[in-house]
Symmetry: C2
Subunit: 351 residues, 2 copies
């Protein structure tokens, strides 16, 4: 994500993620009110309820999500007729990759927050918290990031070598399969790690951009976006602005799963029950997605940094100008793309 | 502290702090081995031992200190004949002001660390952790920073207005008293906050640059350093390089306490017993302190940022060149300065 708070920063270009957080809030409140079984929690001597937001980026979306959760948990405790000193205090862990701009995150923490804040650097595909130390996980718009580009994709000797492309959705079966396998492995590692870190009975809220069940990868809006970005880089390689070898070794570590794939992953690991799973309503009206400027600024905020690291800073403006032009020229291509955002509420089994 | 890892950064100019950490390690090991009463700890369901380093800055000193503590606690558990799964896991909280360079701290976390790491932004003069959630606090070279410059120091109407100076040690009685009062208040807030956050029986290690009991403020090495820095700013104000009004409104929020003042503060708040209190041996041989270059780079790394914020970047090089010259010209002044580093190990009362 683009750090800081400049015009191209993630902080100022995360409208989609914000809409998702907003439209998930009511469901999250309902699920906490109904499913959070606070009697089973041993809050230990310090009477602290611990929340972690995974892939929090730099705010402000993470702060909205956390406040919504915290207020609902507080209400739940109050509804049990507990006195104020029996209602727990809150500690919130903001997690993201080590390269995240934690300095900015910390500086923008709400002044009037009702929790003790901490930042936790590191990939959520590994262990980042002690055993049974978190009561509620929240993870929004993060699980579509793979832990890495599948190894074989960059290997010239492999049938899954992704020559001349930067993504899987309109590539060969071998490439697509390599992405699918990496995704299945990552989800397994994600669920296994969280299963150790969460208390028995704890809840996990996942908000994930998905493709509808049965929709081909190539018809998915997010994937059309990445393929368009790839076509810009291919054009620039033809013009000699981008090195062809660099293009071959660049691939975007994103996989757009279907709700069904998510279900399969949860069931396979076996540590969580699916308490609720639904498509968030009417979030990305095609009219707004066909807004080329919005689409460009979104893609740029999310991908500028790793593209810059690979290709160098000098290509960035040209790349996103070209991208902008392509979106403007063919709005129908984007309007036909399918996309949904799935919300899943999982509960840690007590056995 | 100067962020990043450039030539003037704190990370590359914290030799004094490193010597202090090194020479404290043996004492810390002894005290943990002897005084850490692990039987009294309820490690809760997650079996996690929590350590916090307060005022950690950007490393690497904080990592050395934490490793030393962690290994000693591990040994202590092993010596009780516990099996490996009964030995707790560790979670380490790195705390400093919100303006600290946490991005750099996180990027330099040791790869092979044996703990879950988290960063906690915020002043340790307030609450930063949930009740009874930390087993061992470490705080090195941080307690001499006041939470703020005493209010009256900057008030033209007050008898404690510190006109034409930036520090208290060669100023009026009123100014000195204002600093002393602020320090007493800050230590009380520090100890009260930690008393709530630490478990009963938990240990707190404080390493503090001090003046020997009975030594006047003006004879203390650190204070001579600040007075010299002040005299440079006064010279620059006379030359018109520094604005006189800006000089009057600038004061350094540092107070060099005596071990006796520390004892009084601990006894007054009443939550901790002093398990050990001693002067660390032979840490700053005068010969090395008379090394003007080392002194300059140290003072610059620690104070460049807040001087820059107040006076602007353009004066920085001239200021520290002048400072360097003054130290070189009068080494005897610095050699005569008294300084000690006190180490205190406190234990939280169980009642």
């Amino acid at each position: 994500m683009k750090a800081g708070d400049g015009p191209n920063s993630y902080a100022n270009n995360s409208t989609f993620q914000k809409i998702a957080v907003n439209s998930s809030q009511e469901v999250v409140r309902e699920e906490i009110a109904e499913k959070l079984d606070i009697q089973t929690f041993l809050l230990s001597s310090c009477n602290t309820f611990r929340i972690a937001d995974l892939g929090c980026s730099t705010g402000p979306n993470t702060f909205f999500a956390v406040d919504n959760i915290l207020e609902t948990v507080q209400l739940k405790y109050q509804s049990q007729g507990l006195s104020s000193h029996q209602i727990p205090k809150f500690q919130v862990f903001f997690n993201d990759q080590t390269t995240n701009d934690f300095n900015m995150l910390f500086k923008s923490l709400p002044q009037n927050r009702q929790y003790y804040a901490a930042g936790v650097p590191g990939s959520f595909y590994g262990r980042i918290f002690p055993n049974a130390s978190i009561h509620l996980f929240h993870c929004s718009f993060s699980n579509h990031w793979l832990s890495r580009v599948p190894k074989e994709i960059g290997n010239k000797e492999s049938p899954a070598w992704n020559k001349g492309k930067i993504y899987y959705s309109s590539s060969t079966t071998e490439v697509t399969r390599a992405y699918e396998t990496q995704h299945a492995l990552d989800m397994e590692r994600f669920l296994n790690a969280r299963a150790q870190e969460i208390v028995y009975g704890g809840l996990m809220v996942l908000i994930i951009p998905c493709r509808p069940n049965g929709t081909p990868h190539s018809h998915t809006l997010a994937n059309i976006t990445y393929e368009t970005l790839g076509s810009c880089l291919i054009d620039m390689a033809r013009k000699g602005v981008v090195d062809e070898g660099k293009l071959d070794s660049f691939n975007i570590p994103v996989y757009i799963m279907s709700p069904q794939e998510l279900e399969v992953a949860v069931e396979r690991t076996g540590y969580f029950s699916i308490e609720r799973m639904e498509v968030l309503p009417n979030m990305f009206p095609n009219s707004s997605l066909s807004n080329a400027l919005l689409s460009t600024s979104h893609v740029r905020a999310v991908h500028e940094e790793h593209i810059k690291q690979h290709f160098g800073e000098e290509i960035i403006d040209e790349l996103f100008n070209l991208y902008h032009k392509k979106v403007e020229e063919r709005p129908s291509k984007f309007e036909s793309g399918k996309t949904i955002v799935s919300l899943a509420v999982l509960k840690r089994n007590t056995n």
